[in-house]
């Protein structure tokens, strides 16, 4: 057989590509459920890390079921708001059906927040309130090479940052990847605060955020960027600004937290089972 014939070559390459594509599509479909379960457990452990309930390292030692158990135990309520701060939906916090936002869903909402051609509707962004008093919200945006996302928690005053955890798809290991891998970077957020009235709600500053006399960062809304990872730092800064601005109305309306808005109380009584304890 002459394998160098033109027609043979074309048919051969076409055939092999089709066979490989079909096989990969089949495998991807059949493993999808398992992968989504893993991704959900990861999302949950990232939120628990941001709420400083556990460190990420200790969470990584738990099984998926244990992560879900822990989350179900620690979460107080979860709901979806619009950019005006009104609650538009609730998220289930029952152990058998825990609703969280996957990175894919965050991407969709990111388009909605920004508007434009890719938007599919009005933004519907999640709020997760934990029993330790911290409120976790997600952020999503573009890093240098691919998407970055993460979770920021706020203390009960709804202004002071209680913790943060970030993840990425393909930032450079050792540089941009530090937003995920470097706990000391994430620790820089703790104790800082968001300025919900400003356009730049939070700043990641290249070349040094204001310092106290002892060298620690001033507890304002500015922290140091990662050296060697300017683009990723800027991407993270933009992601945080975009998302926290979308949450600004909600946090402003709920600070200080003592008087809960009647609106959401009403909403919770309607849909939440007896696990709900009102403040």
């Amino acid at each position: 057989m002459n394998t160098n014939n033109n027609i043979y070559t074309v048919i051969y390459t076409a055939l092999i590509v089709v066979v490989v594509a079909a096989l990969l599509a089949f495998v991807s479909q059949s493993l999808k459920a398992k992968q989504e379960a893993n991704e959900k457990a990861e999302t949950i452990s990232q939120m628990l890390t941001a709420a400083r309930i556990c460190t990420k390292d200790s969470l990584d030692l738990l099984s998926n079921a244990q992560k879900l158990d822990l989350y179900a135990r620690e979460i107080e309520k979860a709901f979806v708001i619009d950019t005006v701060g009104n609650i538009v939906d609730t998220l289930s916090i029952a152990r058998e059906k825990l609703d969280v936002y996957s990175p894919k869903e965050l991407k969709r909402q990111n388009y909605n927040i920004k508007g434009g051609a890719n938007a599919t509707g009005a933004p519907a962004i999640p709020v997760f309130v934990f029993k330790n008093g911290r409120t976790v919200v997600p952020i999503y945006g573009a890093g240098l090479w691919g998407p970055i996302w993460g979770y920021i928690s706020f203390e009960a005053d709804n202004v002071t940052i209680g913790g943060a955890y970030f993840d990425h798809e393909s930032e450079t290991a050792g540089l941009g990847a530090k937003i995920k891998d470097d706990p000391s970077f994430q620790a820089r957020f703790i104790g800082e605060s968001a300025d919900f009235s400003a356009k730049n709600v939070f700043d990641i500053v290249k070349g040094g955020a204001p310092k106290e006399a002892d060298g620690t960062s001033v507890k304002d809304n500015k922290i140091d960027a990662i050296s060697g990872a300017t683009m990723t730092s800027q991407g993270l800064d933009a992601a945080i600004d975009t998302w926290l601005a979308a949450y600004a109305k909600y946090f402003q309306a709920n600070a200080p937290k003592k008087h809960h808005c009647g609106n959401c109380k009403h909403h919770h009584n309607e849909t939440e089972p007896e696990t709900q304890t009102e403040e």
């Binding site: 070559t9 398992k34 990861e42």
Partner: protein, 203 residues
Amino acid sequence: MKLKETLLNPIFKGNPITVLVLGICSSLAVTVTLKGALVMALSVIVVCGISSFILSLLRNTIPGRVRIIVQLVVVAMMVILVDQILKSFEATYAIDKQLSVYIGLIITNCIVMGRIEAFALGNKPWPSFLDGIANGAGYGLILLIVAFFRELFGSGTLFGVTILDPKWYTPNNLVILPPFALILLGCIVWVQRSIQKDLQEDK
């Protein structure tokens, strides 16, 4: 006898990293922890063995002019399969996350395509499979040696278990950084060449 040679040669005498100098980049990148190195080694063994086997089966039908593209398609398929499978199990999900970029980059690991070009396209499937496995294992062996030293002295642990107590041992940060892996690799090449005199170049 010949099969045994195929299987054992790449482990030491013709090691892909220290003798053929293939796959250096990933051996610097994924050797911070033993666990990561082990998963990477196993993944490369699987990808290398099976893609060598498949391409050896197809070797008489592959059109010469597009053979590299066909190799690329098969290797890429194997890499995606490994990635998908790692993502699907609880035990390997975290490792997959840690290795994410590098798993995808197995396809650019010169060992895989290098062995297909040099061996699988000219040999029967079974020896090709063994050659792929053996080269993956030779690569994995060096990875584990490097990772052993880097994890022990960089983090004071082995497979995540504390060996050097942080009370009296301060982890060496240089060991964590990729350049140190290159220094270690140099030392391994040195050791191998003093044992195996025929590798030494004439002065």
